[in-house]
């Protein structure tokens, strides 16, 4: 007998990128940082003794909040710590969106394409989804907020830099959307550490907006995808209501001390991100030289389109061929993406292996 709700029964769950256990694989498919986290992170983890493991952690991750506030020049009550950025996305839907809405009323608004997890979470919450197609160059259309307002959306989700294109949206453009939109604008800044700038000015200072929620994660810029630690930054009123809805002890003591050490190890993170940015430029140039179309990226990946199919290459075949050679990249079998590949930027060695594998095909 089936006991689950209809929306769960009909749900196609989120499909994470492949996580091969073979460490010889050149893994350029899930946007991990190729460089290690700050040494202080490992020290902090090994410093957690049996007694700290035995006890409950701080329910609010209070030390982390204080350090994050200092890092971003905010107050501690403008920070919420979450079990990965995923938890913050889910919390935002739980808190701001109505289940069982119709025709967009009370639901989320998003660009299309976007990070595919948003839709899965919305379907789990059973809240409506309004999709606004991006422009040809992946820019957010001018009437994005207007369309969402017309539909009655309560939460808009924008990822900047955008996934999977890498496009950066300026703080001014995001402020314009937040000003026009009548609900909460969540800006998923998972990849912001690789970008020219972030949107933190929207929640800081005299012009601070009360409806903007920034999502940050330690998975990418801080090389800690294994840790599952994310956080939200916003006006204290938004943080307070998100706090009411999170699981009571949502982050553990190991994650908390590691996250504190990661934020305190800014220099390591900045150095590794700078190296990735340098390689992003080089890999993009090399691909362009091979006749691939490369979209400008502010992220740690690039979206790229192989030369015209007439040359005997198409994206899926290349993806399969690379995989057979032990190089994993990401292929999305969906509109506007199935003729492209998303390639994570690795170390120079990994990137050279990728480029060689592509060249040996051509």
């Amino acid at each position: 007998m089936a006991y689950e709700r209809n929306n769960i029964r009909s749900l196609s769950p989120y499909v994470p990128g492949e996580q091969p256990q073979d460490t010889r694989v050149v893994k350029l498919n899930t946007n991990e940082n190729p460089y290690p986290p700050a040494p202080g992170v490992l020290e902090a983890i090994t410093g957690v003794g049996a007694d700290a493991l035995r006890r409950y952690p701080s329910p609010t991750a209070s030390e982390f909040r204080a350090v994050a506030a200092q890092t971003h020049d905010l107050d501690a009550d403008q920070v919420i710590a979450t079990n990965g950025g995923d938890e913050l996305l889910r919390l935002a839907m739980t808190v701001f969106c109505n289940p069982d809405g119709d025709e967009g009323v009370g639901g989320i608004g998003e660009t299309w394409p976007t990070y595919s997890l948003y839709d899965v979470l919305a379907r789990i919450h059973d809240t409506p989804i309004v999709r606004v197609p991006l422009e040809e160059d992946w820019a957010i259309p001018q009437d994005f907020a207007g369309q969402l307002n017309d539909a009655g959306c309560r939460l808009a989700i924008v990822v900047s830099p955008h996934a999977p294109s890498g496009r950066y949206e300026s703080c001014d453009r995001l402020r314009q959307i937040a000003t026009e939109f009548k609900g909460v604008l969540l800006i998923d800044e998972a990849y912001t550490d690789f970008a020219r700038d972030d949107a933190i000015d929207l929640i800081r200072g005299e012009d601070a907006m009360d409806n903007v929620l920034l999502l940050r994660t330690l998975s990418k810029g801080y090389s800690l995808a294994g840790l599952r630690f994310g956080y939200g930054l916003a006006h204290r009123n938004l943080i307070a209501v998100l706090d009411k809805a999170r699981d009571s002890y949502n982050t553990d003591i190991l994650g908390q001390v590691a996250a504190v050490a990661a934020l305190n190890g800014q220099e390591q993170a900045r150095t590794s991100c700078a190296k990735v940015v340098d390689e992003r430029r080089r890999v993009g140039d090399e691909l362009a030289r091979l006749g691939w179309w490369v979209w400008p990226s502010d992220s740690n990946f690039i979206l790229t389109k192989p030369p015209a199919p007439g040359s005997g290459q198409n994206a899926r075949d290349i993806y399969e061929s690379l995989k057979a050679q032990g190089v994993f990249v990401r292929y999305f079998d969906q509109d506007r993406l199935r003729d492209k590949l998303r390639i994570t930027i690795g170390t120079p060695d990994q990137n050279n292996t990728l480029l060689r594998a592509l060249t040996s095909r051509t």
Copy 2:
């Protein structure tokens, strides 16, 4: 401006027990295990290197599932790993209960009193709650399932051993409830490692039931409250639908390896639980000798009622007086509980400090 849903606005969030940072405090208020976790746990954590932290963990905690299956003589697809037991509770409501139900339809059924988090999670999900008062001796009334069926509940939650009384419900009685109830019966076995037996027979073998979900945690019996690691055991169909609704990477690499080591360190857990059970008997006897009423407990705490108020003692005053002496116990200001205290069983030294503090008052 307020952006949150009405149910969130009106929500009184869960209040965790006090977590004083002063390590001199004798902390008998949140049911932590007084003994350390198995040494293998610390070894496993320190063995996680920078590369494992940098990469995403197994989204399904596959190694943990295999070890848990072996531990409980089940199949791996009968196990789900969660970010603490709390996440499993939330998942069960998300998957089985309807938001915006009326008069109990589609909601949860619970005993009263019970673990207070259930109500908070139900209010966040905005699903109705049906409360069935326990008998005088904290037994579940015979018509519990019938009342829930009449109201249209989709999920029944029973905690056994019961919190906050410590009462054990037999496997036979739980099977009877599961047989009668038309929805899913979640049995919260957070404290089962201190009990005479568990309910695992309900999901094993030829008589296995397809509507029973057991909640387990490493927080109590395995001395790992700081880790936030729980798991569910059930028929594979129930696990499959819960799996669809969990956050995609809900447990981290440190938690996964520590949890595997904890299950592999059964002996340490059994020894520490046995010591707690011995002390539970001794503390109960001592309290009874002082004229306190002590309910039989199968857990790592006891619910106890001080001698008649005529003697000048009431539960809240005693709680405050103990706290002033650096001994934290739990006081619940609610019907049927405000004349009682819930006391976690600590080490012999801690328990002696408690008993001395009580005696010095009398």
